[in-house]
């Protein structure tokens, strides 16, 4: 699945788009609001789905080499977070959907792609 499909299907607002945005095939997703929990994961992560709308979410995404963060529930995003997204060149998206809904849609998109 490409980033554009994700953006369209989740009706995302693009807060920052990484320089090579849209090129990678997205396969691995994680949904969590606790950053230590994200750090526990051993396999590759492409996209972090979270309601944590602070710069820490971006820094955590960078540590695990994710290329994008999706903020759910239409939560307000701090200027710090946008600045961090730019600094680490990580795509930052925002959807009005909940984590539960977002995961369901992504799963359908993955099945569709496969």
């Amino acid at each position: 699945m490409k980033g554009d499909t994700l953006i369209k299907e989740l009706d995302c607002e693009i807060l920052y788009r990484r320089k090579e945005g849209g090129t990678k095939d997205l396969r691995s997703f994680i949904a969590s609001d606790l950053m230590s929990d994200v750090l526990l994961v051993d396999n590759e992560i492409d996209i972090l789905i979270t309601s944590l709308s602070t710069a820490q979410a971006i820094r955590t995404a960078d540590i695990v080499s994710a290329i994008g963060v999706v903020i759910v529930n239409g939560k307000p995003v701090s200027a710090d977070m946008k600045a961090a997204a730019k600094e680490f060149d990580i795509t930052l998206l925002r959807t009005k959907l909940s984590t539960f809904q977002t995961c369901g849609i992504i799963h359908r998109l993955k099945e569709h792609a496969a």
Partner: protein, 114 residues
């Protein structure tokens, strides 16, 4: 779909079984209890990694009747006791928040199609 239907799901292990059955119409996935308080609905099953007695307090507040602890987090005795007192079901799963959201979403969709 009711909580009893969830007990038949192989990926979910019922760890607190003294519960009152109730209808489930949706799911809510979050690890931030304040977020659960703000957005979850009473007929949601809560998917979280917060295996903590406070989670029961929040579930009670919102009216949630069942919760699923992701990533196989250990449930401590005080949490189980509190849930028992409130007659709230606790399930445990080795799946993460993303996969549990997908799983519950699929079960709900199947139920709806019937």
């Amino acid at each position: 779909m009711t909580i009893k239907d969830l007990t038949r799901c192989a990926q979910l292990k019922l760890v607190q079984e003294d519960f009152d059955d109730a209808v489930i119409t949706g799911g809510y996935t979050s690890d931030l209890l304040s977020d659960v308080m703000a957005h979850a609905a009473a007929d949601n099953v809560l998917i979280t990694i917060q295996a903590h007695i406070n989670t029961i307090a929040v579930a009670k507040l919102v009216g949630i009747r069942a919760l699923i602890i992701a990533n196989d987090r250990e449930i401590l005795e005080d949490m189980a006791q509190a849930a028992k007192k409130e007659r709230i079901a606790i399930f445990c799963s080795t799946l993460n928040q993303f996969d549990l959201s997908v799983l519950i979403g699929q079960l709900l969709a199947k139920d709806h199609a019937r």
